[in-house]
Amino acid sequence: MARLTRSEIAISRGGSASYLGWVVGAMVYVAVLAAAGALFAHSVSDRWSLSLSGVLTVQVPDADQTAESGPAIPAPGAQPTRLAAVLEILRITPGIGHLTILDRDRARALLTPWLGADLVGQIDPPTLIDIRLMDSAAMDIGALRERLDRRVPGTVVDDHGPWLSRVAAVTQAAERGGWLIVLLVGAVATLSVVFAVLSGLSMNRDVVELLHLMGARDGYVAKRFQTFVLMAAMPAIVIAGMLAVATIIAIGAVSQPDSVGVEAAMGFGRIGGLTLLDWLAICAVPAVFAVFTLVTARLAAMVALRRLV
């Protein structure tokens, strides 16, 4: 015996409502990619600030020339080099953990891949002192700068602050932009569900009135529209969600072969540079869309039905 399950509401017969699946599917695809972008931007910004905060670099030009003696310290014998003078000051500065000195040759070696051996041979890079801070709070960079400048003029203390804040600004903008896109796309999807329900209602006005006359409550009628929206949108949401995840993995895979050095440090090693938690969030996007779609359909139908009669 045939099951009695066909819906009274016939929305799928033409009308803009039949495009609901395509619209919602496209929206979910964009939203998932935007969410992944936002999460990725967030994790990039996290990693950069983690690896660069607590780090200072002191540049000492002409490191092996003798330091001029400060007015307070009379010169008893052989003058120390500028580098030695800087190290002396750093040694008594509180908060410093570990020092690494990159002398001129190592600095040249570092620059060679970027500038070429010829050019590097002609320049005289400063000696770099890479400092890991033990206790960033105890460190007074302003005071250190002043002291160094007085004793060894020309030294530069770089706390990467401007660079970091620029990275932070860019990644934060990208992250916010990503979430904004998710919101906008969600709003558009919500609107398209509302319009689908409204056009379905007006196409089925006679049937809706008939159902009411037979004693159907608004909830009963609204449920029919929810079912329709679910049938139209759910396959699209699932397919679009899977396509979007595949896209993210593909992008991750494409960027993988070059992932050495900086990129590896930033965590491109993981799929698409995203953590498990990020992936859960990404997969939650289509689920949230699905729930939103259903709730929207119900609300739209309930409100419209009250206005109808």
Binding site: L4, V207, L211, G215, A216
Partner: protein, 243 residues
């Protein structure tokens, strides 16, 4: 069961349809509602099934003033009514079986019960062979019987029929009325709007006659010469002939 107190009905433009209508339908009564077309028969029925609010006076159905009902209460009230519409109002993309099942589904009846009752009733109105037919493949008379089956499937306390015999010849009209008689005997209150005098003459029930905005009660003819036969009637044989 239904009481009208000084009911007035006027549409925004035009003269009043009903000016001062007062009457009562007792439980388990059977009335015809007559009057010229445009006299206000449909408006009166629509007020009973709460699709129309009177412009004046009170309409009391099942003991409640219809103006005091909330939206959901209206829905629940309507489940106790069966309505046969003049133009049937079957849902075109649903089969006869699914159309008849609607009131049960709306009332939240279990599927198992629906699967048992719907074919039984369709069989009883002679459409056992057309259960899965879509309305447009059925004749006018068959559609009408689907509409009637839908109106009575949920065992309503009150059955309203608006010109149920408007589109069929007298032979079929009489059969339909025998069906209503049967329901009446089973305890349903019935109000049939019609302008078919032959029906009113043949079936001895009191008439509510609308004329010039007023309603007059006309007693049943004294000699019910042609009462419906007693006992269970099968008003329609499984038909092929009619189509």
């Amino acid at each position: 069961m239904v009481r009208f107190e000084n009911v007035e009905m006027r549409y925004p433009a035009g003269p009043p349809i009903l000016t001062d209508v007062t009457f009562e339908l007792e439980a388990n009564s059977f009335h015809f509602l007559t009057g010229k077309s445009g006299a206000g028969k449909s408006s009166l029925l629509r007020m009973i099934y709460l699709a129309l609010v009177p412009s004046g006076g009170r309409v009391v159905v099942f003991g409640r003033d219809t103006k005091t009902l909330s939206r959901d209460e209206i829905a629940d009230f309507r489940r106790r009514l069966g309505i046969v519409f003049q133009d049937f109002r079957l849902i075109g993309h649903l089969s006869a079986r699914e159309n008849v099942a609607l009131p049960l589904r709306i009332a939240g009846t279990r599927e198992a019960v629906i699967r048992r009752h719907v074919p039984e009733l369709l069989d009883w109105v002679g459409l056992g062979d057309h259960m899965d037919a879509l309305p447009h493949t059925l004749s006018g008379g068959q559609q009408q019987r689907v509409a009637i089956a839908r109106a009575v499937i949920a065992r309503p306390a009150l059955l309203l029929a608006d010109e149920p015999t408007g589109n069929v010849d007298d032979r079929i009209a009489f059969r339909l009325l025998y069906l209503f008689e049967e329901l009446h005997r089973a305890g349903t209150t019935i109000l049939v709007a019609t302008h078919n005098d032959a029906l009113c003459d043949r079936f001895a029930h009191p008439r509510l006659h609308i004329e010039a905005g007023l309603l007059h009660r006309v007693a049943a003819p004294n000699s019910p010469a042609d009462q419906a036969p007693t006992g269970r009637v099968v008003p329609f044989a499984r038909d092929q002939a009619e189509a």
